[in-house]
Structure formats: C-alpha cells, structure tokens
C-alpha cells in the first residue's frame, strides 16, 4: 500500500514550515517508519541543513525530474535513522524548473517506497505552493499565534477548500504561554476558532530550535526539549494515535486548551 503524502504549508514565510518538516520527518523515522522528505523550496533549499545532511547531497530533485539520475540516487539517507531519506531541492534553479505534474510524479513514486512522504512547501500561494499541495493526502498548515500569520493561513485553507485539494490540519508554532497569559498573544482557542480546522499540535517557542537547526540536529532528538516533545506528539497523531495535548507550564493555558473541544 502506498504511503501517505503530507505537505507542510503556511502562506506566510518564516513561520516554521521547514522546522516542522525536519522534526516531523525525524520523529516519524524514530517511530520506525520509512520516511522520505522532499524539499520543494527550490532555489532556497534549507531542509538539508536543518537535518544536517547538506554535505551528503550529490543529486537533487531537478536532476531527478530531468532524468539525470535514478530516484534512489537522489535520496540522501540520514546518518542517525536509516529509514529517513531526504530528496533535496536544487540550489541553483528556481521553482519553474518543476511542473505540477513532475512534483506529483516524484511524490507518488516516493510514496511507493515509504510509509510517509513529507513535502516542505515554499512560502506564498503561487506555483511553488500549488505543486507542493497538489499531490498531498493531508496538508499541515503551520501558523504562528499572530494576526498576519493567521490571516495567511486562512487564505491557504480557503484555497485548499475552493480547489478541492486535501484536508488541512492546523499546527500552531511558537506559542509563548506567558505572553498569552498577559493577553499579548492570540491564544490557541482563538486561532482554532478563526480558522475552523482541526488542530494537530501546538509547539511552544523554544530558543534551542535555532541552534538545533544550525547544528543539523532537529529538537525531536533532544529528550528534554518541550518543542521536541510537541513535535513527537504530532508525529504520533499523524500516525493515528490519540495523544493528549500537553501542558505548556501554564495552568491557565491548559484550561483554555481543554475548553476548545
């Protein structure tokens, strides 16, 4: 049976799509799944860096669709979890180097040999967004608890609905519980209420994420990291488990979270 294709998207840039793709891919591999993550942000590749695999790249996705290598040659195997593979983006080309049909074919070929295919989509709602969401069975819409990011996420969900693409689940990234408590940041129920799609996870702000990304060691590898725990929980939910939403060190936050459903 073919694996599930999950696209990570957002509309707005910088909200944490690549961080999410890297961490969910690794967390699913830690659960023993065969995972292929595809960097669809052609021209601005950085999924390889966040996974610490940049030095191992020989071929990339554009090479593959242009027939310069075989699928297996374009996949970079992870050094820590051998069931995790990366299909890197091309650094020196732009998004027009790939058509919607080509991305579709790559994603479905990958799904033939993996349990999960994760696609890291570029920012925006243009061609790159379209080719990233077209093959998806599920779209994880990443947003931050701030008005502009939520508005862009709404735009993306609207496009997914209008064009009849895959169902969307919401991941709220960079939540700061103390700011929520002081009413300086949108809280989870407000964001969920605005977007009216199912929540799949809430990831707190975690300063170690930046360093982890720079070192190529996603935070899911860190047992003690709260953000890492949140991503591991999302991976288990994707896998179909019921995992309760965790407390982010703030009773009022927990209370609010439980109020939403």
């Amino acid at each position: 049976m073919a694996g599930q294709i999950i696209t990570v998207s957002s509309g707005k840039g910088g909200v944490g799509k690549t961080t999410t793709t890297a961490n969910l891919s690794m967390a699913l591999a830690m659960l023993g799944k065969r995972v292929i993550c595809i960097d669809a942000d052609i021209g601005l590749r950085n999924l390889d860096m966040m996974l610490g695999l940049e030095n191992r790249i020989v071929y990339d996705i554009v090479n593959y669709v242009e027939g310069r290598c075989r699928l297996r040659q374009a996949l970079v195997r992870d050094k820590r979890y051998p069931s995790l593979f990366l299909m890197p983006a091309a650094q020196t080309r732009d998004k027009n180097a790939i058509t919607i049909e080509q991305m579709n074919r790559v994603a479905h070929e990958a799904a033939e040999i993996a349990d999960y295919v994760l696609i890291d989509s570029p920012a925006g709602i243009e061609h790159g967004f379209r080719y990233a969401v077209t093959p998806a069975d599920l779209v994880v819409v990443v947003t931050n608890p701030e008005v502009a990011a939520v508005r862009d996420a709404d735009r993306v969900v609207g496009l997914l609905e209008a064009e009849g693409w895959a169902p969307a689940r919401l991941l709220i990234n960079r939540l700061k519980p103390d700011m929520v408590r002081r009413n300086e940041m949108l809280d989870v129920p407000t964001v969920v209420d605005l977007l009216a799609i199912d929540l799949i996870g809430v990831v707190p702000e975690d300063p170690s994420i930046l360093a982890a990304g720079n070192r190529g060691q996603p935070v899911v590898l860190d047992e003690r990291s709260l953000a890492g725990q949140a991503f591991r929980n999302v991976a288990r939910r994707l896998h179909g488990e019921e995992v309760p939403f965790m407390s982010l060190k703030s009773p009022s936050f927990l209370q609010r979270l439980f109020n939403i459903r």
Partner: protein, 223 residues
C-alpha cells in the same frame, strides 16, 4: 442573430461567461462593454468560460485572457467539449472542469432569482460579488469581501469587508449574527470597524440613517 453576444452570470463558484455569437470580435467588444459598466462587481473574480463545441484558437484565447486581466479577473475554468481546447487550457494551467461534481447548470436555480444563497465560509482573499442580494450561511473572515447590488444577510460572523447597495441603493441593509467588519459600505457610505475589541456578539442590522451607517441590535428593532 437577435442574441445577446455574451452573458455574465454570478454563480457560487465564479462568474459564468457564455459566448453566444459566431464572431469572437463581437464577443470581446461586448464583454468589454459589460465589464466597463459593472467593473466593481467582477473585479478580482474568477471566470468560468463555457464554450460547448465551439473551437478556440490560441490567438482568440490570448485576447480574452488579456481582456480579463485588464479587469483583474482570472480565467479559472474553461468548459469545452473539444479535446484541443481542453489541452490548450491545461497548458496554461487553467482547469477544464469544476471542482466537485457541480456543474454551473445545477446551481442555476440559486442565481435565477435576484438573491444568491451561498453556504460556506469566505476565507481571506476570497470574494463574493453579485448584482442582486446575497445570503451567506457562514462567516466572512478577515481579508474576505462580499459586494452586492442589494441587501446582504450573513448567518455567521463578519470580520472582512461588506458592500451592500453597490449600485448606489442607500436603502440597502446588512444583517449579521456578529457584525464586526473591517469595513462596511452601503451605497456610497463607508464605516470602519470600531476600535473597541472585546464585546458580546449580538445580531445586528446596519443601515444608512441621516448620511451615516448605523448598526442596530436586532433586539432593539423588535421593540
């Protein structure tokens, strides 16, 4: 021929464009006239072009597309019985069928009368333009827009932009379960969202009184 050369019709999915003349020349100039007249309605809208068995040379296609672009409209779907037309459409990234099974004909009952009933939430970037009344069962999120020639009734909450009486009818009203639009227009009158944030939602009716848009709680209207 006695026909109207082209017809434009609002449907819940987009603006349905039908060409009913032999001459593409006549069709384009007639379309341009309609668009110029009703610009604000169709601006930003997406077009469903229904061609049936009519051929569409690439030149003609390009001229239509450019005309629509000038009026900020997107050629979204081309419905054709001809393989080469479908092929042409697809090569420009244009759909050749409507998402879901609905054809515009099945929805025609909803637009035949003067009011358009739409059952969905309008999300950021989505626009609903209709020359008659609009009844929406759903929310109008921030960044979304409803423009109607007549009244607007929203069974839901409003955070986006509403414009009722867009042809200048200042007797038009707007009703909503929770009315907090970023901008509300009736005919030529404009009001912006009040600054105060948190409040208990209540059904309201907005109308023009002495040159100002005022929102009256539904409870008050009944008194």
């Amino acid at each position: 021929m006695g026909h109207i050369p082209v017809t434009l019709k609002g449907t819940p999915q987009g603006i349905l464009l039908r060409v009913q003349t032999e001459s593409w020349e006549v069709a384009l100039s007639s379309l341009e006239l309609s668009l110029r007249d009703a610009q604000s309605f169709f601006r930003g809208g997406r077009v469903i072009l229904e061609l049936g068995s009519r051929p569409l040379p690439e030149d003609d296609f390009q001229r239509l597309r450019q005309l629509l672009e000038r009026y900020e409209m997107e050629l979204w779907v081309i419905l054709s019985e001809r393989e080469e037309v479908k092929h042409l459409a697809r090569s420009y990234g244009i759909r050749t069928r409507l998402p879901g099974a609905q054809s515009p004909h099945q929805r025609a009952d909803e637009v035949a009368s003067n009011a358009l009933l739409v059952r969905r939430t309008l999300r950021s970037g989505q626009k609903l333009h209709h020359p008659g009344h609009v009844v929406l069962l759903g929310d109008v999120n921030a960044g979304a827009e409803v423009v109607a020639g007549g009244n607007i009734v929203i069974w839901g909450r409003v955070r986006g932009v509403l414009h009722a009486g867009a042809f200048g009818d200042d007797a038009a009203v707007v009703c909503a379960l929770d009315l907090m639009p970023s901008q509300l227009r009736i005919a030529q009158y404009i009001s912006r969202a009040p600054e105060q944030r948190r409040r208990v939602p209540q059904p309201e009716l907005a109308r023009v009184e002495h040159g100002n848009i005022v929102a009256v709680p539904w409870k008050k209207i009944r008194e």
